[in-house]
């Protein structure tokens, strides 16, 4: 199941050149670009692992692309996203975030129905990725 979250996720995957152009747009706005990755793209999983520190004071997208390629080498079969952080007063938050790498097979989510008192039903989404046994999820 194709995960759609962040910008551009309903479009075909961006090429490296397109990613680079988007990054350059962020840098020209003075935003710091950050690389994050995870195996579990659950919508409620806001905190992905960080690849290095957010990159402040860059002028050219080549620096981000260098880090992204290194991250892909290590976590090529995970989700990787770029997020652009605006540190200016009043914003101080993420302005743009988009997925730049997906695993070959996206495990997707399942819906769990939980019967509670009075035969009411509570619904939960769980990611299949999180079901993998110990030692298989990380590394």
């Amino acid at each position: 199941m194709r995960v759609t979250q962040g910008c551009f996720s309903f479009l075909p995957d961006l090429t490296d050149e397109q990613i680079s152009r988007q990054v350059q747009y962020c840098l020209e706005n003075g935003w710091a670009v950050n690389i994050e990755f995870t195996d579990d793209p659950h919508p409620r999983n806001n905190l992905w692992e960080m690849w290095g520190l957010p990159m402040f004071d860059l002028r050219d997208a080549a620096g981000v692309m260098m880090e992204l390629n290194q991250c892909r080498k290590v976590y090529g079969n995970s989700y990787i996203r770029l997020s652009a952080f605006d540190s200016s007063h009043g914003w101080e938050s993420v302005r743009l975030s988009f997925i730049v790498n997906r695993p070959k097979e996206e495990p997707g989510f399942r819906l769990e129905r939980h019967e509670v008192a009075g035969r009411n039903i509570r619904y939960t989404t769980r990611s299949y990725a999180a079901d993998r046994p110990e030692g298989r999820r990380y590394g």
Binding site: L53, M55, L58, R59, D60, A61, A62, G63, M66, E67
Partner: protein, 304 residues
């Protein structure tokens, strides 16, 4: 086939090309603002011409290779290496060989870490900031410490070499340092020497050049020498050059700063005097002659 047709249909007007990129302006500015340094200027003109031709060749599909632009500047302290690096960056930017044209100037401190695992991220961060522009490494020979084989400098060198080779289109590296020590540095890191296309040597300034530099600096700051002071300063330069730790234009700048200090002190000493703009602008012989350089000279002159 394709190339032949390109040759026949496209003619190139060099003058238009040159004017379009506007490097002539930078080169004449370089001539005007930097005194002396004739071999350096010639070399920069050569590089600029080469790049201009390279740019045209690229447009005509005659080449696809990115030329190696890494450089090394060697020369004594105060011969203008940093200033020239800034100009080179703007020339490269105008010609489109670097995308952004910023200069990131670093020394060993900013590249080499203090403990294991600290160096790589530090070096990479500097490299990332310099991407699209010029990375200027001042006193580059400090990166290599032959007396300590566990020094982290070597790690920084390896990362630098790798990026210099694989991302030539993203980054231009300029190494700078004193001649003899840079030679030793290149001798122990042959990888560096072969990855650098342009080795430029900065000669020391002659005495008339140093005087011209002094007058240029003073003019920028709206000061001037009185006729006596100018004579005294010529003697000052001759004496200062023979002393240790002479660092060319930098020494001249420092000397001028001290002379401004003495001039201010002299003016403030007489509070009742009415000053004209000319008084405030001119440095007198006494401001020059109060220098330590002349004091040291006296006993030797007396004994001789």
């Amino acid at each position: 086939m394709d190339m032949d047709t390109a040759d026949m249909t496209d003619t190139v007007n060099l003058r238009e090309e040159l004017e379009a990129v506007g490097i002539e302006e930078i080169l004449t500015q370089l001539d005007r603002e930097l005194i002396g340094l004739v071999p350096v200027k010639t070399r920069i003109r050569e590089i600029a011409s080469l790049l201009l031709i390279e740019r045209i060749r690229k447009r005509l599909n005659l080449t696809s290779e990115v030329p190696t632009l890494h450089m090394s500047f060697t020369g004594n302290p105060g011969t203008g290496k940093t200033t020239v690096a800034l100009r080179i960056a703007s020339i490269l930017h105008r010609l489109g060989f670097v995308r952004r044209g910023q200069v990131v100037s670093v020394t060993r401190d900013e590249l080499v870490g203090q403990y294991i695992g600290h160096t790589a991220p530090k070096t990479k961060e500097v490299l990332k900031k310099a991407m699209g522009g010029v990375l200027f490494i001042d006193e580059a020979y400090y990166l290599h410490r032959p007396d300590n084989e566990r020094d982290y400098g070597q790690e920084a060198i390896e990362i630098l070499l790798q990026v210099m080779e694989s991302q030539r289109e993203d980054l231009v590296v300029i190494l700078a340092g004193y001649g003899d020590r840079m030679d030793k540095f290149f001798a122990s890191n042959p990888g560096f020497r072969s990855r650098i296309a342009h080795h430029i040597d900065f000669p020391d300034y002659s005495e008339p050049e140093l005087l011209a530099i002094a007058e240029l600096i003073l003019r920028d700051m709206n000061y001037k020498f009185s006729a006596d002071a100018r004579e005294a300063f010529i003697r000052y330069i001759t004496l200062r050059k023979t002393q240790p730790l002479f660092s060319n234009a930098r020494s001249i700048r420092n000397a001028l700063d001290r002379m401004r200090l003495r001039q201010a002190n002299r003016l403030v000493a007489d509070l009742d005097r009415v000053l004209t703009a000319d008084d405030i602008m001119s440095l007198e012989a006494s401001d020059v002659l109060a220098s330590r350089v002349f004091l040291k000279d006296k006993p030797t002159a007396g004994s001789a």
